[in-house]
Structure formats: C-alpha cells, structure tokens
Symmetry: C2
Subunit: 230 residues, 2 copies
C-alpha cells in the first residue's frame, strides 16, 4: 500500500494552542487567567456538542463568545462587552505549538508530498485569520471549516467534508488531532488517526483507539517516512 495521500490537521489544540490566551486572561483578571482559559475552552467544546445534538447550530465564533461569557459569569468575573471582544479577538492570534511548524515544513519537503489541510470547527474567518497570523497559508493546501456542513465534530458529516473536498477515500487520509475525542470521532469515521497526546493524558474511553499516539508532532514526519504508516 502506498503512503498516505493527505494529512488533515485539527486546528485548536493541535496546531494552535488555545491556552495561549492565558496571558491576556491573566492581564485582564490577575490570578484568574488559567482558570478562565480552562473553563472557557471547556464550555466552548460543551456548547459545540450540545448545539449539534439539539439541532441548534450557531457558528464557532458565536459558540466561542458564549463559552467565554458563561465562563466569566461562573467565575464571578465582570466582563464588559469590550473585554469579551478583546478576549475573543485573541483567538485570531493564537500561537502555534512549538512542534507544529517544524512538522509541517518536514511534511512539505517529503517526496511524494502529501496534501496538507486543516479541518476545524472554526469559521472560515477565524481559521483564515489564525492561519495567516502564523504564516501557515504557504504550506496548507486546504483550510476546511465545519461551518460548511452546519454541525460540529465529532458528527461524521464534518469528517466527510475532508474526504469530499480532497476527493480521497478516508483510509488514504491521515487525521491528526491533539483532542482525544476528535481522534476518536475521526477513527469511527474511517481516517488513519494520529493522536498527539502532548499532556500524556489517558485515552478517552469511547470504544475506539487511535491508530498512532504521538507525544508531539515532531514524531509525525519520521513515522510517515519510515513507511511505518501506509
């Protein structure tokens, strides 16, 4: 079997560190930055799942604002509209994880070069902004948003979008995610799945296991080049 034809990356928590908003949170709410960032992320994800199940889709920009708003209230932080806007704006300038750029460059230099894409819950506007901010527009062939199908991961329609746009069978696509639940959803769909488990967390107990577990994206190019993955 030939090597994988494409690598599709999740964005938030995989290439981009959602917790790079901590410094901004900490600046606005001294001593509460980490707690706010964690609860914000947690509510943001929860709302994507709940809205998907309820059949009440709102885009990720809205859900991100809603998660932030709830997190502030739950922590008793007085968030003005301006504070909320400022924090949400920080999502457009999230940092790349240290291992991400080197991995993407190495993948770009492979022969044959696999197609490289993002598949994310983020809106096209949010994704284009953070991709451009981190100068990834030169290495990515596609930036795909769940917004095109009006539901969030791990609904299979989101993963299907990547197979459709790349015109490839799911098992020819390597899907890379730092989110264990996203890795599980992608595996159920049929991708070859790489879970980037930077925090050395226990696997999510969802009845499926990723094909490969990496401690960082540094391992990815070697794994593909070795022919260990096909």
């Amino acid at each position: 079997m030939s090597p994988l034809d494409a690598l599709v990356f999740d964005a938030y928590g995989t290439l981009f560190d959602v917790h790079s908003v901590i410094s901004k949170c900490e600046q606005l709410f001294p001593g509460k930055g980490t707690a706010l960032s964690q609860l914000w992320r947690s509510k943001q994800l929860e709302y994507t799942w709940l809205r998907s199940l309820m059949g009440r889709y709102a885009d990720f920009d809205q859900v991100t604002a809603d998660g932030l708003s709830h997190a502030c209230r739950a922590l008793g932080l007085a968030c003005t509209a301006q504070t909320l806007a400022e924090l949400k704006q920080a999502y457009q300038t999230l940092h790349l994880f240290d291992d991400a750029l080197a991995a993407l460059r190495a993948l770009s230099a492979m022969h044959p070069r696999p197609r490289l894409a993002i598949l994310s819950n983020g809106t096209p506007e949010m994704l284009n902004a953070v991709v451009k901010h981190n100068q990834l527009d030169m290495v990515l062939d596609h930036v795909l948003s769940a917004d095109a199908v009006g539901i969030f991961k791990p609904d299979p329609r989101v993963y299907q979008l990547a197979a459709d746009r790349l015109r490839m069978a799911p098992d020819r696509i390597g899907f890379v995610s730092g989110n264990g639940w996203d890795a599980a959803g992608a595996k159920v769909f049929g991708f070859t799945v790489f879970w980037v488990n930077r925090a050395n967390a226990p696997v999510e107990e969802l009845g499926v296991a990723p094909d490969h577990t990496l401690s960082s994206l540094h391992e990815l190019p070697g794994l593909l080049a070795d022919g260990g993955v096909s």
Copy 2:
C-alpha cells in the same frame, strides 16, 4: 388554558444527587473524593454527548463505567476492577435531594393530579434500582429511559419519547431538570421547562432560556397550584 397534564423529571442531578457518591469515593481515595466525583460526572456527560454525535451508542451503565475509569486514570488513582464495580454500584443507591420527596408528595396530592414521570439517560435497570431504593415507585407513573431510543439527551428523540409514552402534546408537559443543558434541550423540543438551579449557576448560553428557574423543588408545587403555570 388548563394546568399542565404531566410533570416529567430528569433523574441524575435533579431528583438524585450524583455527588452522593463522594463519601464512597472519599473512603476509597482519601482526600480525592470530591475531585473524583466531579471528574467522573463530567466525563460521563461528555461521553454521552460524544457517543451520540459519533453514532456509537453504548448504554448509560457502560458510559458511567467508562467515565469513572477515565477519571481514575486522569487523577492517577489505582482503580481495581472491584473498586470500579463498587463505585458504579453506588449509582443504584444515590440519595434523593432533600427537596425532591416533599415536592413529589405535594404534586401527588394535587387535584387534578398531574401524571408524574422520570425521563433519564439511565438504563431501565439503573433507574428502577435507584427509584426503588428511594421508594419513589409509589408516586411515579412512568420511568422512561433514553435506552429505548438508543441516543442520549439533548437529542430531541429522547424528549419525544416522553410525549409519545404519555400521549400528550409537548407543551402540556412540564419538564423539570437540574441540568441547565438538559433544560435547554427540553425547551428547544417544546416542553414547558423548569430549571432547578440549586447552585445559583449562570444560565447555559445555548440560545434558549427555561420557562421557569427555581432555586429548589420546594417552589414547584406552589408555582403550579397558583395557576402561574399553564
């Protein structure tokens, strides 16, 4: 308009206190009881939503065990199979919230008496056990499980089950939940919704609001009798 014809209660977190497992958790893992109980509940819910979206239903007994298993690993607690079984068993003897029994009795004594039911993610076996343990089998007309439709709340098919079994239009049914996200899902479905907000938490930002917010179930019978709810 006549008063509501039925009151349908969520079980876990509404009638039964899921955190009544804390003492058992604390006994097994001194100093970690509260953290374990909270993470267990959090993963249990997360897994119901994720499995529903992935199209990989497993029943609530399994998901409860999976959430517990993950929580133990994430907290670095050595859980033997026996410990896991012992803790899961505690779900069959969860305590009623202090306000629940009095409210159910008062509702039972109303004229006309509304039909009283449970609609829960729990399996029939789990629900029957905890209902019997708390001697609620005498006051409840129906104990309905999401297991009959093979998906979890807040998917509308779960709420539809109650309307179907009670043979009532959704707006004739009052749905009572202590879980803000469940109250939101029930409202989207079309029930008249009572959110029991014992912890005085901020409302979930899901684009819908419950019809009534109560600080405890003590308020429910009076609210219905006053004719404020129809």
